[in-house]
């Protein structure tokens, strides 16, 4: 059972894309629900992304990847 880390539709307005500026946790690391795992930037605004569940982090989109709303950037297994 895995839980996707999804860029929420309401994280920012409009259709502007964002960039993953950093993963704060390494691929394969244990995370708890609510832990900060990544940061993304759109329109010079930096957002924090939290782990949606406890488990092992699997990174799908690497740092500097350009993403849209709804993108699955990783999962917690």
């Amino acid at each position: 059972m895995s839980t996707p880390i999804v860029i929420a539709d309401d994280l920012w307005e409009g259709d502007a894309e964002a960039v993953i500026t950093s993963w704060l946790v390494s691929d394969g690391a244990e995370v708890a629900a609510g832990d900060l795992v990544a940061e993304v930037m759109s329109e010079k605004a930096q957002f924090e992304i939290e782990a949606p569940a406890a488990g092992v982090l699997k990174i799908i989109e690497e740092e500097d990847a350009v993403i849209a709303k709804g993108a699955v950037i990783g999962q917690v297994e």
Binding site: W12, T21, E43, K44, A45, Q46, E48
Partner: protein, 255 residues
């Protein structure tokens, strides 16, 4: 006390982090910090550390008197010096405030008091991108089509789950346009980047307003006044914003 703190650039960045933390911790719903650097540095998002050539660029900039410091907001490299007035506004938003948590509304909340203050001093500001400006973006504060202030944001959640935004503006007061554009271009060159900026894309407030620093001492009062129109009380502990009938995201008549 004129409401403008003096910090080294590093201490100023830390003061902004502490400001955001206080609001995230629920100590305040809205706080403002105005500060002016005592030294100088080239400030950029932490993700720049991964760029090829960063170490070399960092050494070269430091050797020219512009050490590199990392910030928590987005964007591109920005020179900070005693020529700059930094304005940081941290606000916690109600959980259901869909308008207030928009990026553009958070920029408007930051820039509307600045625009009013400029208008009261006979200057008509705009908002928009400025080709050739360093750290360009759609939410620059402009004068005569040139960049007067750059902006950025950082979003977090408060302990009780509300969205919290730190919106920041770097307002160029004194005319350091040439050395600032020069150090940014040297950084890009050392990183083998093709990006370049031009001093002429910027404008310093002192080029249009005499006694700009002295006049800036009235900015905190202007923020207090404009934010009060939106139901925000600077330094207030309560979390009743926005009061019934006041929309945090109402459209600004100035911008």
């Amino acid at each position: 006390m004129n409401g403008i703190a003096r910090f080294s650039v590093g201490a100023g960045l830390n003061a902004e982090r502490a400001l955001l933390q206080r609001v995230c911790d629920g100590l305040f719903d809205c706080q403002l910090l105005l500060w002016r650097p005592t030294g100088q540095a080239l400030v950029m998002p932490g993700s720049f550390e991964r760029r090829p050539g960063f170490a070399l660029a960092s050494q070269r900039c430091a050797a020219q008197g512009w050490p590199i410091l990392l910030r928590d907001t987005g964007g591109e490299p920005v020179p900070q010096s005693s020529a700059v007035l930094n304005i940081a506004l941290a606000c916690a938003l109600p959980a259901g405030d869909e308008v207030g948590k928009r990026i553009d509304i958070a920029y408007e909340r930051l820039l509307e008091p600045l625009a009013l203050w400029l208008a009261e001093n006979g200057l008509k500001a705009g908002v928009g991108a400025v080709p050739g400006a360093f750290c360009d973006g759609r939410f620059n504060l402009t004068l005569e089509g040139r960049k007067l202030a750059g902006t950025a944001q950082r979003w977090r959640r408060s302990r009780d789950g509300r969205p919290v935004v730190l919106a920041h503006a770097a307002l160029l007061i004194e005319d350091w346009r040439e050395p600032m554009a020069d150090v940014v271009n040297r950084f890009y060159h050392a990183c083998a980047s093709d990006l370049r900026c031009q001093a002429g894309s910027h404008l310093a407030l002192a080029e249009r307003l005499a006694d700009a620093w002295a006049t800036a001492t009235s900015l905190p009062e202007c923020y207090q006044r404009v934010l009060a129109w939106q139901g925000l009380e600077l330094g207030a502990r309560a979390s009743t914003y926005p009061p019934e009938g006041l929309a945090a995201g109402r459209h600004s008549p100035l911008l």
